[in-house]
Subunit: 236 residues, 6 copies
Amino acid sequence: MKPDTRTQLTTVSVATLCTALFKRGLRRQFIQDVHPLDPGKPNMVGEAFTLRYMPAREDLNTIDVFKDRAHPQRKAVEDCPPGAVLVIDSRGDARAASAGSILVARLMVRGVAGVVTDGGFRDSPEIAKLAIPAYHRRPAAPTNLTLHQAIEINGPIGCGDAPVFPGDVIVGDGEGVVVIPAHLADEVAAEAVEMTAFEDFVQERVMAGQSILGLYPPTDEANKVAFEAWRKVQGR
Amino acid sequence: MKPDTRTQLTTVSVATLCTALFKRGLRRQFIQDVHPLDPGKPNMVGEAFTLRYMPAREDLNTIDVFKDRAHPQRKAVEDCPPGAVLVIDSRGDARAASAGSILVARLMVRGVAGVVTDGGFRDSPEIAKLAIPAYHRRPAAPTNLTLHQAIEINGPIGCGDAPVFPGDVIVGDGEGVVVIPAHLADEVAAEAVEMTAFEDFVQERVMAGQSILGLYPPTDEANKVAFEAWRKVQGR
Amino acid sequence: MKPDTRTQLTTVSVATLCTALFKRGLRRQFIQDVHPLDPGKPNMVGEAFTLRYMPAREDLNTIDVFKDRAHPQRKAVEDCPPGAVLVIDSRGDARAASAGSILVARLMVRGVAGVVTDGGFRDSPEIAKLAIPAYHRRPAAPTNLTLHQAIEINGPIGCGDAPVFPGDVIVGDGEGVVVIPAHLADEVAAEAVEMTAFEDFVQERVMAGQSILGLYPPTDEANKVAFEAWRKVQGR
Amino acid sequence: MKPDTRTQLTTVSVATLCTALFKRGLRRQFIQDVHPLDPGKPNMVGEAFTLRYMPAREDLNTIDVFKDRAHPQRKAVEDCPPGAVLVIDSRGDARAASAGSILVARLMVRGVAGVVTDGGFRDSPEIAKLAIPAYHRRPAAPTNLTLHQAIEINGPIGCGDAPVFPGDVIVGDGEGVVVIPAHLADEVAAEAVEMTAFEDFVQERVMAGQSILGLYPPTDEANKVAFEAWRKVQGR
Amino acid sequence: MKPDTRTQLTTVSVATLCTALFKRGLRRQFIQDVHPLDPGKPNMVGEAFTLRYMPAREDLNTIDVFKDRAHPQRKAVEDCPPGAVLVIDSRGDARAASAGSILVARLMVRGVAGVVTDGGFRDSPEIAKLAIPAYHRRPAAPTNLTLHQAIEINGPIGCGDAPVFPGDVIVGDGEGVVVIPAHLADEVAAEAVEMTAFEDFVQERVMAGQSILGLYPPTDEANKVAFEAWRKVQGR
Amino acid sequence: MKPDTRTQLTTVSVATLCTALFKRGLRRQFIQDVHPLDPGKPNMVGEAFTLRYMPAREDLNTIDVFKDRAHPQRKAVEDCPPGAVLVIDSRGDARAASAGSILVARLMVRGVAGVVTDGGFRDSPEIAKLAIPAYHRRPAAPTNLTLHQAIEINGPIGCGDAPVFPGDVIVGDGEGVVVIPAHLADEVAAEAVEMTAFEDFVQERVMAGQSILGLYPPTDEANKVAFEAWRKVQGR
């Protein structure tokens, strides 16, 4: 994505982005049923770096496997580029953890932009307090070895029923997380900024008592005119 | 409902109302698995005005459909009477939004008493801050067009596995939402006020160390006497 | 459990305990999908005292059954020993309540250490404010009679897919609840204290910028040495 | 139940019995989501003898536990009375077996009237061929030790969300299984025989082209008369 | 639909129709998770006539309601036009019946083309033997009054997550049921006939040992030529 | 696996193999909730060759993608070795097809030993008639493009919550499918043959009226002796 795109994406909502994608025929880019551990954080924006889990076979997932420095879970945490978002395919299974506070702290220190799993985190109260956005389904105290084996770094995955390719642009806000295909990120971000200006105008008019009919969408010409005037005043 | 009934219903809990309905053989009036976006609001009370969604067929749910002022979703928002609660049948599907902050703000400005869906809202952090109670299953950023087509205004529906007829009295608190059949609202409200007085008395006694046996329910005559005395002191 | 064990268990996390149990081949001791009504409380620790619900048959679950002082739900509340945790098998069904604020207040006053259900509580906002830890799946306003019949006190049960035997040690924190088999409580608590010291050391190092490779687990000898030095300084 | 009741229950359908129970306010006696392994068998009728499983703790469920002759699963198979139906509470979990063909064959040889689980059987193709009716959710090859620990014989249980007390009368047909409270078995059986006669008459009339209006139920007096005439002819 | 369309639709598969709809951007027309009670029947084809259930409120759903000749369930059975398919919206809830053998027999005698519910039928073994195609999720012995209240005849509904409008063309085979929007029925039927010819050709070639590469789809010109020759020989 | 192993595995049941794996600490090798399209076929045995689907992004999954001869779904069908079993990770999602009859016929002609998906097949009635074992969750008429994008051939996957590595030995019977880790195949097969002999002996004794106590397992020495004698007579 272009340098400006990242900035733009910090100012728009996941809901607005979903609508921009819907207009392009993409209906399944919202990661279903994940939420922020700390809903008060600013937007998470970054390119997807992925980790895939498969079901754990017991003999391959003893506590000793972490002695291997090349273990994919640990390697993913050290390899995820600063500014990227680590997206974890946990097959929607939150019965065991996808990661815990030590790994998420390491991601934070390394400058990673955020972390998402369609499973759950352990140490979730601690992760909520770290200065890195994190999204999951629900807390999961059992170690990942209990059910998940990290098997692939940075391949295409599913997360919360959404398709995620490495390099797709991931945006999270207080509501959830959306996956923007890499080639659409710049145009979708620009369009979302425009949409947000209009929605802010509409919200202001609605709060002032105006009906949504003819305003949202602006099928009354007068509302289009009023919006243009509002933009000038607002400098947007 | 009678004018007093609305006032009474702001002072009792959904749990107490469920028990009053249970005594009348009504076991399925609690809307399952919805919660308030802002649990700190006062009780929501109003007569049901409904909106029903069916699964969206793609060709009938392009972004342009909102240009039609008669679109049922938009019309429902403008038609829902002040003081009523808009109850939305989203077939329990929270993968796409039932509505967003602009529509909910319009409901608020119009004096609507609250809004409930067994799906999810988009712009949920903004809706949580509006001065109107809203209940849903979980946040859902994708536009309603993605999966839901608004098809009927103010007919009988299901919401969270509960039957809802237009005019039924809807009450929500920090725990959830209950549907009181219209013809029972007055008597159930009155009974719930009585039950609440007794439960407050019991809670006070329990906090003071009394056993629940013989007290809750008051099978010991002494507890009935004590309750009557307490009521006089409390003026309830 | 030994007197010290209870104290130790107030200082460690459920996640750490799950790992200690995992090392012993126990992978299913985490109670799935329950959360604290008030996540800010200190750890809940106590021996399990159980209550089992079966599906309610309508004729056996009228409002009058509570007039029987021997009703198992009410009896369990009066019988649960101070310091114990009441664990309720609600068959994972949160459509009706497992208990409400009056019963939970009574447990609190009696000195019970906490209460857990894999169903839901009614009066959940009030329970959240009581000075007793409580865990459930989601709020459930309908009286337990609607779907649950209390049938057995202090037998072996399942709760959130975990096996619970009376006397097992139950620990809850802001993340969830774990079941420690009685005979393992002392050794698991001691081990968890050790693990927590190491994890605190690791977290400190990670926050200071160190890689997790060779540190977590400490396959680099230098990290073992540093940890021992840290312990001395910290007096742990 | 009376001797005649068992005979009567072999001639009526589970659906008819459910309606007779519904008339008495009992709406949850159908065991949800179980089906016969061999749908061609005659009705299963017998008094409930129960077995309850709890989640299996790994250290208590090694392959060696079956060396204990008192293991509740094996004991239940030897203790279940001839003519009874063994009803197993598997918590609706069909990921591991409730029993296999050897145990079911033993039940058959012992004269047990049938077996029901809300989990699954292993060796299901073989069980389907045995001369004993068996009902489950779906096949489950893993040994019960994998997830289930047999914990209680002949106590009250839930099975497929239905309440089951020892001695309740269990009836299964090609459609499913219903639980008749013991004290109602005689009257419900008699009523079902009457209802079946009427439904057979109605079915015959419908096949002959008559409308259901006025016939089902027989609000037209003429249909009542015709039914009485039909009964005489049929000798029912 | 045109007279020929019905005939054409008896000769093609639901899978082929789904692909024809997919090409037109319609991805959700397959009724999810229903199957034929008798998989051996010929294709079901007819225009949709609908019935909608809402959750049953206990006081409105006593056994006496059927004495009302205008009860929507009974009325729908008498009103559904010959040649149409009765499609029932049971909200995907198969815990109680959508209909039983007497009503389905009446539909059959009246010349109705078939019946579909996303719930379950009671008397399912008898319905399977009737000469009318019927599709459901699973058998459900409890009367519909237990959980379902018939509320609307021939309005737009959802069935198995598919949108169904009255007059849409419903096709069922041994695999499942698809909903063809009314305005597309003729062209989709014609296209499916063409596709079926090609797929039959491909299947024949594959059985003879040819690779699918270049054949399916026919990116090799030679395969297009071979198909045209095959059509001439086959007279298709 | 050794040449004999394949033969041995055609003679034992999936249930027996699950027990042999359970004894080795492997509890999750049964592919959950899949069943044979034709339960009458002989055992399926072969080494796993895998295909992984991710959620389909609409712009990457138009009908034209199959014109690419390198499309992973089509390539997998041509590349799967004779004698292997194609195991498809469909993320447990049976709302769209994993494959249809043409592809499965091609697998059959190429000598592939079987095909398994934790989703569903289209053309399932036709696949059931082919001379190749096929297992799925339920029929799914919509083309795979609707929800699934084939993304990886012969990597490690999950299928029905079981871990599957390429080369693992897959065995299916009338009940379901089990995954035997490659390195255990020979020893597990041999052990299962032994276990099957014993179970056949036990089944014979049980049918003759013997109690399971002391027999299954053979804690009575007499039963061990009898088994040895039986083996000699049977030549097993």
